[in-house]
Symmetry: C2
Subunit: 599 residues, 2 copies
């Protein structure tokens, strides 16, 4: 039903009109690029996503991978898609030219990934995980390991995984039991069980490179004793080719409610005491390395949630323009023809809410990607520093807001389709099932709220918050249009309630009201993220309002839609934080007082 | 993991302590009953639900019915469960003794149905649909049709369906195209297509009795031309036995995201021009008959949503008491043992929210069932009248609030389980998928909001609203405990904002701001239903607060939990309506202004 994965104006609007991505061309790292090379890579992503990924999204969901006790089997389209992605050079898109990369900005690479996530999040999982694992190796593993593994991962010859979770240790990685014993060859022998490892087994590549968290014998208890290891499925021979099978075994496949095309695995390391692992960086620094990459992974989760949400939105929009049902005055005689359901007020509401969620989430994540570019390439050290603090502060929001509101959008898409939406004959229920993973992985949204309230807010003496405030106020000063002025007024009313609350919460965190406040951390996330999202929407509305003064007739509707979505967000979603402000001000104890035995 | 389908104290609390169901024993209709017979039937329901329904809930989900072009096949446990239900007499539980029934109150029958819905909503669908169809026949079909079909439906020999929706006509039944032509034998020949007909084909019974909406040739356009027909799969021979196959054919099975055990069918009537249909009651009155039964069906949907929500809540609660993860002060050294996750504030929040949603929804639906008993058996005509108006007003809330918040509870249950909750190895994702149907069928929740705002609120000059207000105030006057006093104060603050708003909305409905208001109908539903739910929770908290003065030690925790859930509801959920009150007061136009071309 959808002709395009993404509205043809959406990414150009976000990239060039809102984020001024062209300004990156002035930086040394990107000086060999121009808008045409950016557009060409975006067009390639769109083409491969449309032709190789979208085409088997439903089929991969209906035919999940199987394990016959020896090998994992999946539909052949997944490998075709993986190979097309790798061949087009996307794996190495962000890397230096001399590493075989395209030296492209994060902002552009993230936008490219949007096509793949909108088309088929499960099949996109394999290359995305490989890129993430390669990045950890490149940053922390030292030249020997990097030379062995990274080029083959970037070419798509090897794939990668992140093996963190264990059956008894998910959110609490401090408690992992997988351990590593030094061996005579200078490497380690790994032993333990890992669970929910995405892409942990398949036949898409010649080798699978697991990045495994484990404790070296005798290491300190807790997070300070965790190290990181490269553990390949096949050890490399002297020519660097996959040789002897390493002692890593698939214990079983996990059957998920969604994201079914990506294998989720239980893995056993060292059942025969012969699992070779290669230490990444220094001993006991594993969790630090992982967390240094976490910003990137969390932006990726947020953006994936936004794009799955977007996909459902586009489908329900097309359906609502086509499906007729009921009548509206003045043409409401039984003999009048039925109207398209998009004309009903409540359907408009459900579509506009979706638009505000998914285009808001996309805009937020692309903003975060732009911050990564500034951290990597800004010329002033000061700008790098302040941008780093801002990104740290925003990361919990970037991960959790889209992963809350993307599934909400998918839920509304089902409702717009009604009975049809409840069936597997239509794609929106798969979107919901796929997206439901995002509030859980890479740190549950509950943990994101705690991270924001107890750590990120106070980091570097609140430097991130100061930068955020400055940027919000700068943007508000620039937004002089009538619509934006009204939206800014409403937003400032709440921002002025939040700011004096923050020191009060800081005191509570140190005092005996800490349990009450921690149980209400999600309220703080609601307030903070909803104000951030109002700002993100006002940024878009401001561009649209200005563009309307002088745009081509064909673009007018697009900009009017942006302004209306901003109005919806600020008028309908932002005022919900009145509840949360009240609870935080009262340090309400309804949740913390509850006792396990009272349930 | 759950030992009990429903906490052993929950239904006795709702039935005897909150609703005083024993007071019904004074009425002539129930005078042969006593608390022991009520308890015996509840125990039977619990036993059959536990032994025959719960045991194949996951299996029926994983093995949905298949159609080989001739017959529909399903796992044999479904028929065993159906037969056990019918044999125990539940089909006829509400009917007169001389009809072979048990002459039980609706309140008790609804409570019984709770066990089946908690155990296995898909398999419960077949008997529940049969009971609903039998009820329509009994009330409107005249003695000849009733005698032929009803007893065999109540014995479980025949099953029933409601065949309303057509491929092009779901919410808008006015547009159905199925038609009926009078035949020489005094009956009708039916022709048309129906879609999403639950239980439309299977081999559980000797015959399937379809209740089909169709238009008699030459009938007026719109809803005024719709008639209702009994259309059996097999026509009855002279002995009343299923004989010749009627011209009703299964066009195909629909594949749903949940509720997979209940067949959803596309049916063709009269492909060979030989589909015999028997008119129910008068011509052109079909929709009226259906709507007279709608209160019952909608309470059933609400209660089902509550119970599926409850089922997920119970599982996630048991999981949270068992699963350990992380540490809490003062035992938060890495060497301390991990704590059960129920002790973390954010997990408490997710469990307490679930409790407030599902036990609140159960209580609301049982209250509605009690209103049905009062309508059917109250001795004063005035009480019957006013109760009827109250039930009409509450019905949109009873259908839609549980079906919004039951799935929300299931969503939180998934989140409590984390990665495990996302897998099909655990039951909570099935709960969510099953429950997602409830906001859609029996009138979408958007349509319920319109029904409340544009019709039910004003019916009989607002008599329902007056009765509701009186009952709320009576209950508030009785609730003298300290906790209840605080909750009442918070609730009245919002109630006092709603009441003056209502006449203002009435004026807007008549004027040129109607489109703005209709697009905001869901905000009115939020305000109205959240105030109703606060009242429902205060009713429970009041009973609990009084019981605490003098209860057995073993029950103390249960009552404390009720009070805490009421606090949670009023402190956390009710204040969200500040947003909705603002939008309604402003007649906000964010949604109504949006134009289809702007998306």
């Amino acid at each position: 039903m959808n002709e395009e994965l993404i509205h043809p104006k959406e990414l150009p609007f976000q990239l060039y009109e809102v984020l001024d991505t062209e300004s990156l061309l002035k930086r040394a790292r990107f000086e060999e690029h121009n808008k045409e090379t950016f557009d060409a890579i975006l067009e390639t992503a769109n083409k491969i996503a449309t032709e190789k990924f979208a085409t088997h999204n439903a089929k991969a969901d209906a035919n999940e991978p199987t394990f016959d006790g020896k090998d994992v089997h999946m539909i052949p389209e997944v490998k075709e898609a993986f190979d097309a992605y790798a061949e087009a050079g996307f794996m190495a898109g962000r890397y230096d030219f001399d590493e075989g990369g395209m030296q492209l900005p994060e902002t552009i690479m993230m936008a490219c990934s949007g096509y793949f996530m909108a088309a088929n999040p499960s099949s996109a999982g394999y290359p995305f995980l490989t890129v993430a694992a390669a990045n950890v190796i490149r940053n922390f593993a030292g030249s020997q390991l990097t030379e062995k593994f990274m080029p083959r991962m970037l070419s798509g010859e090897f794939t990668g995984t992140m093996a963190l979770t264990e059956p008894h240790a998910g959110s609490s990685l401090a408690d992992i039991r997988t351990h590593a014993v030094p061996a005579d060859d200078g490497n380690y022998r790994i032993k333990g069980s890992k669970l929910y490892i995405s892409g942990g087994e398949h036949q898409l590549s010649n080798n699978i490179v697991h990045l495994v968290l484990a404790k070296i014998q005798g290491a300190p208890a807790g997070v300070k004793g965790i190290s990181l290891f490269v553990v390949p499925k096949f050890r490399l021979d002297e020519q660097g080719q996959p040789g002897q099978r390493n002692d890593v075994a698939l214990a079983g496949l996990i059957h998920k409610m969604g994201y079914r095309g990506t294998t989720s695995t239980a893995l056993s390391f060292g059942e025969n005491d012969d699992c070779h692992g290669y230490l990444v960086g220094e001993p006991h620094q594993g969790l630090k390395y992982m967390f240094l990459m976490m910003n990137e992974a969390r932006i990726g989760v947020g953006f994936g949630a936004a794009m799955i949400g977007y996909s459902g939105y586009q489908y329900s929009l097309a359906y609502a323009k086509d499906r007729t049902q009921g009548r509206l005055p003045p043409n409401n005689a039984p003999t009048d023809p039925a109207t398209e359901i998009i004309n009903h007020g409540d359907v408009k509401r459900m579509l506009l809410a979706q638009k505000s969620y998914v285009e808001g989430a996309m805009s937020l994540c692309l903003y975060a990607a732009r911050l990564v570019d500034d951290i990597n390439t800004a010329e002033s050290g000061e700008l790098k520093q302040e941008t780093g603090e801002l990104l740290d502060l925003l990361t919990p929001v970037v991960k959790s807001w889209p992963s809350e509101f993307g599934p909400k959008a998918n839920d509304l898409a089902i409702q717009v389709l009604g009975g049809a939406g409840y069936t597997r004959e239509y794609p929106v229920e798969q979107c919901w099932r796929d997206n439901r993973l995002n509030p859980i992985h890479e740190g549950t949204n509950g943990i994101q709220a705690l991270d924001l309230l107890t750590r990120k807010l106070w980091q570097a003496n609140g430097a991130g918050l100061k930068t955020l405030q400055q940027r919000i106020m700068q943007d508000f000063e620039k937004a002089s249009g009538d619509n934006c002025q009204l939206l800014i007024k409403s937003t400032l009313k709440y921002l002025q309630q939040l700011m004096p609350l923050i020191p009060k919460l800081g005191q509570a965190l140190q005092g005996d009201k800490q349990p009450e406040l921690l149980a209400n951390a999600t309220c703080f996330m609601n307030v903070f993220s909803s104000l951030v999202m109002s700002w993100i929407w006002i940024r878009q509305a401001n561009v649209a309002e200005k563009a309307l003064e002088n745009c081509e007739a064909a673009d007018k509707n697009y900009y009017l839609g942006k302004i209306q979505a901003a109005k919806y967000y600020v008028n309908w979603e932002l005022p919900l934080i009145q509840r949360d402000l009240g609870i935080l001000n009262d340090l309400d104890a309804s949740c913390s007082e509850m006792q396990p035995d009272w349930f």
